[in-house]
Every structure is written in structure tokens, then in C-alpha cells.
């Protein structure tokens, strides 16, 4: 058994200290306000008492995400690049812990290692996009009048991410990174059966210069909270990455209140083709700005 695996006793008979898994909201690690817990057992054996997040926890996390959003979007693209890269650095440094946790959640040692490495590489990949996607997707539009007219991407605001069940770390990172790359903030519902890495990722985020509230993790059951975040008027987008058509449809229906942009994914995140700047684009709005050009001689366009 791996030495750093959090089990009850280590080889010399020392009683280990077990980790209490709390949630990650607004840069802090609160317990659920509901006081409830559940015990996922992905490999047949319970792995921890996880917080069973409630409607109120969802609301608190959305409040934190909304509060953090303007200043996160207001940072320079270069600064967001560096912070995403920093998450990758911190994850690299703690990869052994993640591998151990994933083994606890039932992944093979090789699969766990692959997942952690792919997650680190993905963060580095999106770190590189932060100050480039705008140049790929923006345009100066050659209008037939004497105006300067350009279109840019702007972050949509607060995104609710329902992480997938199978891929406890890579699944989250593959969507979290493109979501926050443009200046969105994010509330995530971790994998229900394999939630540990999400919370530990929270610890990585907290020490990676990511401002509190930019990325928040709730643990709990999708069917308990789906209606509440879908109906919440302060959520702009939903990223849904679970194989659960019925819940997806109900989220889509409940999202009409403020016309949420709901995006559903079913990708193999371990495939490098599943990454790309279009995922950043998915959580952005296109803004077009017009301004007159002074043209004395004729009413032509300058661009």
C-alpha cells in the first residue's frame, strides 16, 4: 500500500489523522450549513463523510462567485494566464496526494497518475490561452459606413458547473480552466461518487493566487440542488457534464427564468482533442461596439 495513502493506520501502527472534507466557498472551507453528510463508497468501501450540500450552500456559493466576478474579469489577461499556470504548478507539487486520493476512490494507480498529469497539462494549456483567445475570436468589422466597429468576447458572468462522475479531477479541470480563463467565476458540484479530489483541488486553488470566490466547490447530490441553481437568477451559464438526460432536460426547463445558456458536454477529457479555445468561447458573450470615424471628404469607411 502506498505510504501516503490516508488509511487508518500506517505500517508502524501509528493511528493516522483522517482528513475532514469540507466544501470550498469564497476562498474558505465551510461545512454545509445543513449539517448533513453522505458517505460515497465508489469502490465498495466508504471513503469519507462528505458534506451533503443544500440549497442554501448553493446560494452562498453563487453569492461568493458573483462578488468575485467583476474584479476577476477586471484583471489583465496576462495575470489570469499566470494564475492558471500557478494552479498547474501547485497541482504538480501535490500530485502524489491526488494520486493517493484517486486510488482511494477506486482508480487504478496508473489511471490516477495519468489523470493527474493530464490535469496539470490542461491547466498549462489554458494558461496559454488566456491572452490569446480574444485575438482568435475578435474582429474588426468592415461596415459600409464611416464607423469603426469591433467585436470582442466578454465573460458571461457566473457559471454553474456540474462535474462528471467518472473523471474526478480531469473532468473538473477541463471545464473549470476554460470557464475562468476569460474572467467568469464558477460554482461546481463535484462528482457525487468521487468527490475527494474536488475539495483537495480547492486547497490547490486557495494556494495558487486564485482570488476567493472565483472557483467554489459544493459536494452533494445533483437531484437535490439542480432545480435551485437552474432557477437562480444570478447564474448566467450552466455547464453540464453528466450522463443524466432527465436532469439535463429539467435544468434546461428551469433555466428559462433568466435565459441561462446551458451547455452539455459528453467528452472523453483524456483525449487532447477535447481541449480547445471554443470551450472558452462557450462561456462568453460577443460585444460589438460602434463609433463614428471622422471622414470629411466622403461617407466611406476607414476599416
Amino acid at each position: 500500500m502506498a505510504k501516503d495513502k490516508p488509511t487508518s493506520t500506517s505500517s508502524n501502527g501509528r493511528l493516522s489523522v483522517l482528513k475532514t472534507y469540507k466544501m470550498y466557498v469564497g476562498g474558505a472551507f465551510p461545512r454545509t450549513e445543513s449539517g448533513r453528510s453522505y458517505s460515497p463508497a465508489p469502490a465498495g468501501k466508504p471513503i469519507a463523510n462528505m458534506c451533503l450540500g443544500s440549497r442554501k450552500d448553493v446560494r452562498n456559493a453563487i453569492v461568493a462567485a458573483r462578488a468575485a466576478q467583476p474584479s476577476w474579469a477586471g484583471r489583465t489577461a496576462y495575470n489570469r494566464c499566470q494564475i492558471l499556470y500557478r494552479i498547474g504548478e501547485m497541482l504538480e507539487g501535490r500530485s502524489a496526494q491526488f494520486v493517493a486520493e484517486m486510488e482511494l476512490m477506486g482508480l487504478s494507480s496508473a489511471a490516477a497518475k495519468k489523470e493527474v498529469e493530464a490535469s496539470i497539462d490542461r491547466l498549462v494549456y489554458y494558461a496559454g490561452w488566456c491572452d490569446k483567445y480574444q485575438q482568435v475570436f475578435s474582429s474588426v468589422n468592415p461596415v459600409a459606413s464611416s464607423h469603426f466597429n469591433f467585436s470582442v468576447l466578454e465573460p458571461g458572468g457566473v457559471v454553474f458547473l456540474v462535474a462528471n462522475e467518472e473523471s474526478p479531477l480531469l473532468g473538473i479541470v477541463s471545464l473549470l480552466a476554460p470557464i475562468i480563463a476569460s474572467g467568469n467565476t464558477c460554482v461546481m458540484l463535484a462528482s457525487e461518487s468521487r468527490p475527494l479530489s474536488a475539495i483537495t483541488l480547492g486547497e490547490v486553488l486557495q494556494t495558487s493566487d486564485v482570488p476567493g470566490g472565483v472557483a467554489n466547490f459544493i459536494t452533494g447530490k445533483l437531484d437535490e440542488v439542480a432545480e435551485h441553481f437552474a432557477k437562480h437568477l444570478d447564474v448566467n451559464h450552466v455547464a453540464f457534464d453528466r450522463d443524466d438526460k432527465e436532469t439535463l432536460v429539467s435544468i434546461q426547463k428551469n433555466s428559462v427564468g433568466n435565459l441561462k445558456r446551458v451547455r452539455a458536454y459528453s467528452c472523453d477529457w483524456s483525449d487532447v482533442d477535447s481541449q480547445g479555445p471554443w470551450l472558452i468561447h462557450d462561456f462568453c458573450e460577443v460585444k460589438t461596439t460602434w463609433h463614428p470615424i471622422e471622414k470629411i471628404s466622403e461617407s466611406g469607411s476607414g476599416y
Binding site: 474582429s139 464607423h147 466578454e154 435565459l259 471554443w278
Partner: protein
Amino acid sequence: MNQATKTNWDLAPAPESTSHVSIKESYGLFINGKFVESSGEEKFASINPANEEQLSEITEATEADVDKAVKAARNAYNKTWSKLSPAQRGKYLFRIARLLQERARELAVLESLDGGKPIRESRDVDIPLAAAHFFYYAGWADKLEYAFPGRKVAPYGVAGQVIPWNFPLLMAAWKIAPALATGNCVVIKPAESTSLTMLKLAEIFQQAELPPGVVNIVTGHGAVGSAIINHKDVDKVAFTGSTRVGKMIQESIAGSGKGCTLELGGKAANIIFEDASLDQAVEGVINAIYFNQGHVCCAGSRLFVQESVRDIVLRKLKHRMKSLIVGDPLDKNTDIGAINSAKQLETINGYIDIGKEEGATFYQPVCELPSKGFWCAPTLFTDVAQSNRIAQEEIFGPVLAVQTFRTVAEVIQKANNTPYGLSAGVWTDKGSKIFNMTSQMRAGIVWANTFNKFDPTSPFGGYKESGFGREGGMHGLAAYLK
């Protein structure tokens, strides 16, 4: 001092002739390249809102008709349209663009007769822009790989489209041109009160020898639109209209896997800073709210004036309003035409009553309105509170609500404080302020020192409850591709 001689500055009437336009007494549906009768019996009158006279009779399509139209579109997609080379597809669109230009006068007059909009606008805005959209998207058909870096794209197949009554032909062009350029076939429904130019467009498709079934037109009321959108063989839906209906559509297609773009309502803030060129700003505000009788989703229906220039701006605004000519849409001097329908006039008048009841100060210039038809004089409300319904809800008429502000932070907060996010306007002489403001507005289109400008190369669409997706530009292509 001598009393100034009173001069009559009234303009002599300059009506555009209608002799160049032929309107059939009755129109069927356009399915599979032909005008066909409906499986049902129902017809409804299309009237001229400027005099309430009947122009023609339009068919109320049945669900069976919609099904037939979708089948025709599917068939055309499978057998002809998807097999054409992209360059060939583009050439059909170029032909349509040219035909629109050639028949521009006929279309402009018909648009004004049918919809009530001033001929000045249909002639100089609606029809030229409609042609420009076909021209612009024609050129994209064989260049799609340049628009989507790193992606392999494919058309959806059959696009179901529902468009509103405020810019009938222009909205048809916005929807049909990108759909065809990307290789989709179309089933489209015009609004019940403005079907005529769409049916004329069908004649142009025939003239352009567009393969049968590539575009199918079914006319009628909301139920027809709902039948299109919910048809199981429609792969992508595009709707322009009210936020209320947009929400119904989002709900009804949940789980269907259909692609969807929604262009919905708006309540644009037009912001004048004290350093702005005030005459230019006032002219812009007039254009922003009174263009097309205010039947514009991106109309600048809220005006925020910096407190220090409130009085002078209001004085100039009222002065300018006095010179607006309301009347015969076919008169080339007309600034404000007829309200599109009796129902819409009732809605607008309802909001005017609400504004008065809410305690806002009401102003309309003295102007004589024609005795028949649907008319509303340009209207201004001052002393409007942020919570007033006339400051929060879309009126879709020539009604402007004026508020004031002192600081940049205050006006950003107020301007963004509606559920809508389609457009905004900023008037200031200071470049740094422009960029600060335009980047802070939560709206899809921001006009700085200008307003209500449109161009096919330029993406258009909303944030928040003004819908999602973009039309125009290369961003508008994405909506029609998987």
C-alpha cells in the same frame, strides 16, 4: 423691433407612388418552390396600418402544412442543397442579393404599405440592408473553414425560423442568408401582420431558380411558429421576437437537442455626458427611439442625461420633437409612420397611461394625426424613476423615458439594471470615458456617439434576457453550424 414675418415651413406632400407594386388578392403558402393552397380553409386579412384598408388575404397554415414544408426542406437538403458545392450555394445567394437590389423600389413601397414604416426608412435602410446581408453571406459559403479555426463544422440540416413584424424583409434576410450560406434548408414564418414582402421574396427565389424546397414559407399566427419550432424534424430554431415567447421556446425545445438562437427584447440605455456634443447627441437620441416608430428591439428607450446638462438637453429634445412629421408612411417627408397594428397601439397607449399614473411627466409635441389608421405621436416622459414600469419594460413604441445621473458609477449601475442586455448608447467627447463605458455596459451592441447602426459584417445579439447567439458577421455563421 419688427415682428418676424410668419413663414410657413411645412413641407409639401411628396408621396411615393404605389403603381409599381402588384399585390395579389390572396396568397397561399410557399412550399417546395411553389405557391400552394393550405390543407385548411382559414385566411386572414393583411391590412395597411396607415388607413386600415385590406391589402391582401393571407393563409393561416395548418400543422399539416408545416409538416409538408419541413418535409420539403428535408428533401431539398438531402437531395440537392447538401450536394451542391459551397461556391454554387454562394452563387444562388449572390443572385438573390442582386434581385433584391433590382426590385428595391417595389419592395420598399410594399414594406411601407404593409408595415406602416416611413418610405424613407424602408427605401434607405430595410431593403438595402436586406440585399447587403445576402451579398455578405453569399461570400462566406465557400470560405467557412476560415471562420472557425480548429473546428470541422457541418450544417444542422433543416432550420426553423420565426421572425417579427418590425423589419419584415430585413429579418428574413438576417435569418435566411446565413442559413443557406452554411448549407441548411429553411422553413420560415413571417409575422401575421407583415407577410407580404416575405411572399414577394418567394417570387424572387423562383426568379433566382433557387432549388425547390430550400426555403419554404408558411404564414399564420403564433401556433404556426410553435408547430415549426416543435417539429421533430427541425434541427435548429432561430427566433426573433419577445422575451416572453423566447422563454417559452427555450422551455419547449429542452431535451430536443435542437440548436437555438434567440433575439429577444431590449430596453437600451442611451447615456449623455455633459461633455458630449449635445446637438449630435439629441439627434442620436431622436434616431434611437423614434426610428421605425420605436418598433425596434434595440431602440434607445431609456435616456440618462447627466444632471448638469439636463435642462438644455430636454429643451433641445423637445424642440427637435416638434419638427418630427408623423403621417403617411409613403410620404418621403414622413419621420414617424403608422403603428404596426391596432393591438400594438393599444399596448403603447397602455404604457403611456401607466407612465402618467406612475407620476412621470408626460410630453408630446402638438401634432395632427390622421383620422384613420394607427398612430402615436412621439412621446417623452421626464421625472422617471428607476422602478417605473416605463423604465423597466419594453414598450416597442415611440416612448422615451428620461432619467438623470451624476457620476459614471451611478449611470453604469442604473443602465445595467434591467433584465435586458441588447444594446446601449454612450455620448461623450472623451475617448477614455467611451472605452470605460462601452466595456462596462452589459449589452451585445454598444453604440458610442452613434445609435441604431446595422451592417451585415457586424454581429448583433443580446446579453442576459435579450437572448443568446449572434446574427451578422462571422459570429452569425456559428448559429447555423454544428
